[in-house]
């Protein structure tokens, strides 16, 4: 690289811009978490300072844990996300294997058919999905959500996974065939372990929109029993408009699990994006 790209003012300028933007990106998150640990007077008196012994107060958290059934909502979200993720990965990998491994009539057409869902959002089908769920008695069940999210996640999963499965060596699979392995064994025992890293990428991509979705829980499963954490937080925040301690605590409780997961998986996620898996 030339000297021009390494000069000091340039580097300082780059850091200044990036730091400024990092501050903009993190400021609201830090502000909310910081103030959730303060008393009401502290929140309004000095919103920008971290909690001091004088303003430290957990009243918000006690209200939230006492009032909202957050643990239950959290459990629902977990069931829905893990359930959908399992089916997206299993069905998606199977279909991707069929499309990338075998040549059969209608292969390309089938690929295009499945890819349609990448661009057309499933939300547009809501009216008929609700009718379908009402007819099959699945309204207000977590099954309805799992089914919808599985359908929503499949197109992208099939698309990404089939790109990766094309890279699995043919010799390996043929060696398996010569050894008398069935096609199913080849898929589950040889191919799946080899594409596991790309499946992790797909998992992260699929997980975030499912966990954060508000639309389908609101329409398909709004009952107390089946509320997800996103919907629960939304309704809770609506009820406690004037109780700032409770709102800030609820927001922090909603942010923290996602943030922790993100810190653990960010390497995977960012590698997934930058490896060009999503084109």
């Amino acid at each position: 690289m030339s000297i021009a790209t390494r000069s000091l003012p340039r580097t300082i300028g780059a850091h200044a811009i990036l730091l400024t933007y990092t501050a903009i990106a993190l400021f609201p998150v830090i502000l909310v978490i910081m103030n959730s640990f303060k008393s009401r007077a502290g929140i309004f008196g000095a919103p920008l300072t971290p909690p001091t012994p004088k303003t430290f107060d957990l009243i918000g958290y006690t209200t939230v844990i006492g009032q909202g059934d957050f643990f239950h909502y959290f459990q629902n979200s977990l069931v829905v996300t893990v359930g959908s993720l399992f089916f997206v990965l299993l069905f998606g990998a199977m279909a991707a294997f069929a499309l990338s491994e075998y040549r059969f009539r209608g292969n390309t057409l089938m690929g295009l058919y499945l890819a349609l869902g990448i661009m057309i959002p499933i939300r547009l089908a809501t009216v008929a999905i609700l009718q379908l769920m009402v007819a099959s008695g699945l309204v207000n069940t977590l099954t309805a959500l799992i089914l919808v999210y599985t359908a929503q996640g499949l197109p992208l999963a099939v698309f990404i996974l089939s790109e990766f499965m094309k890279q699995v060596s043919d010799d390996l699979k043929n060696a398996g065939r010569i050894d008398g392995l069935s096609e199913y064994t080849i898929f589950f025992r040889l191919v799946v372990p080899l594409v596991r890293p790309s499946m992790a990428t797909v998992a992260v991509f699929t997980m975030i929109p499912i966990w954060n979705d508000l639309w389908f829980p609101l329409i398909l499963a709004p009952s107390e029993e089946t509320k997800t954490v996103t919907l629960g937080a939304q309704l809770f925040l609506g009820q406690f408009v004037t109780n700032w301690n409770a709102i800030l605590a609820a927001l922090s409780l909603a942010i923290l699990p996602v943030l922790i997961l993100y810190v653990i998986f960010s390497r995977q996620l960012i590698r997934g994006i930058t490896s060009g898996a999503v084109k």
């Binding site: 340039r10 547009l124 925040l237 960012i270």
Partner: protein, 309 residues
């Protein structure tokens, strides 16, 4: 011989087994309901019966003042929402990615991770957090503006008709900036060193290197980001709903197609839900998105030259 070969290739059941679950779920939960929704837009519920009315629902939507005022308003707002995204999100995304990809930049992993944080948060968190920050009650925003001496410029943006939509668009940009940044960053990293070295040999460095060499090479990524933004924006709902409620206040000034669809289909307060009109609006959204995707696939993508390294 042919007669002998044929029985050797019987129907390969395993292909069907591999494909069946995905195709069944996808068709039953996505494609058929989508088709069903499009079909519902051609019917109307008259005395508990679905009656075929042709394009009457669309005529109502475009022409009947009860619907058309809200519809055109939502469409206009949605277009503005998209324009703000394109004008703000892409340049900032390109700038951040260009800075991040400069060689031997320290802490780049930290910046990358931190700037991506808002993207993983749910709309509920983002909407509410910004609502609190911009609220005149709390005073964080005026307080901050005081630091730079701009306190007099503060108004409760989310509560004013002329600013609310722009403010929310910027919040949405704040949330999603990570995606264009990452995709462009990936594209910049994939430019081989030989190309850049050749440019340097020809004396093209610094800014002109960015404009003349790198930018043309990342145009396909910018195209993809634009179409992703388009689809996302014309399908948006959650942020507006959490920040301003289903009525998309103040006075419908932040109403976009997603919130309009929700009110029409599900009903809100005094308005009774109407699945057929909901389906009609969904059909319009479908056509808009399909149109955008087609423009991208047939007009933009074919003209952008992809460079294979």
């Amino acid at each position: 011989m042919a007669a002998e070969i044929r029985p050797k290739r019987p129907f390969r059941w395993h292909i069907a087994v591999f494909l069946a679950p995905a195709v069944l779920v996808y068709t039953a939960i996505m494609i058929l309901p989508l088709a069903g929704t499009l079909q519902l837009s051609l019917f109307r519920n008259i005395e508990q019966h679905q009656v075929f009315v042709g394009l009457d629902n669309f005529r109502t939507l475009f022409g009947d003042p009860n619907w058309s005022v809200n519809f055109w308003n939502a469409l206009r707002n949605n277009v503005w929402f998209f324009i703000i995204h394109m004008l703000v999100q892409n340049p900032i995304g390109v700038l951040l990615a260009a800075l991040l990809s400069s060689p031997r930049l320290r802490f780049s992993a930290f910046y990358r991770t931190a700037i991506f944080v808002p993207t993983i948060l749910s709309f509920v968190i983002v909407g509410f957090a910004w609502k609190l920050i911009l609220s005149p009650l709390w005073g964080v925003a005026p307080h901050l503006m005081d630091f730079v001496g701009l306190k007099s410029l503060f108004t409760p943006w989310l509560g004013k008709e002329q600013y609310a939509l722009t403010a929310l668009s910027l919040v949405s940009v704040w949330q999603f900036i990570g995606i264009p940044m990452m995709l462009i960053y990936a594209a910049l990293l994939s430019i081989p060193d030989e190309v850049l070295e050749a440019a340097e040999c020809d004396g093209i460095t610094g800014m002109s290197q960015f404009w003349k060499i790198k930018l043309p090479l990342i145009l396909p990524s910018i195209g993809i980001i634009s179409i992703l933004t388009f689809v996302g924006n014309f399908n948006a709902f959650d942020l507006i709903y959490t920040a301003q409620g289903a009525l998309a206040g103040p006075n419908y000034s932040t109403d976009i197609l997603g919130t309009f669809l929700y009110r029409a289909f599900f009903g809100f307060q005094l308005q009774v839900g109407d699945p057929n009109m909901g389906a009609t609006i969904a059909t319009i959204m479908f056509l808009i998105i399909l149109g955008g995707v087609c423009v991208y696939l047939f007009l933009i993508q074919t003209r952008l030259r992809r460079y294979q390294f």
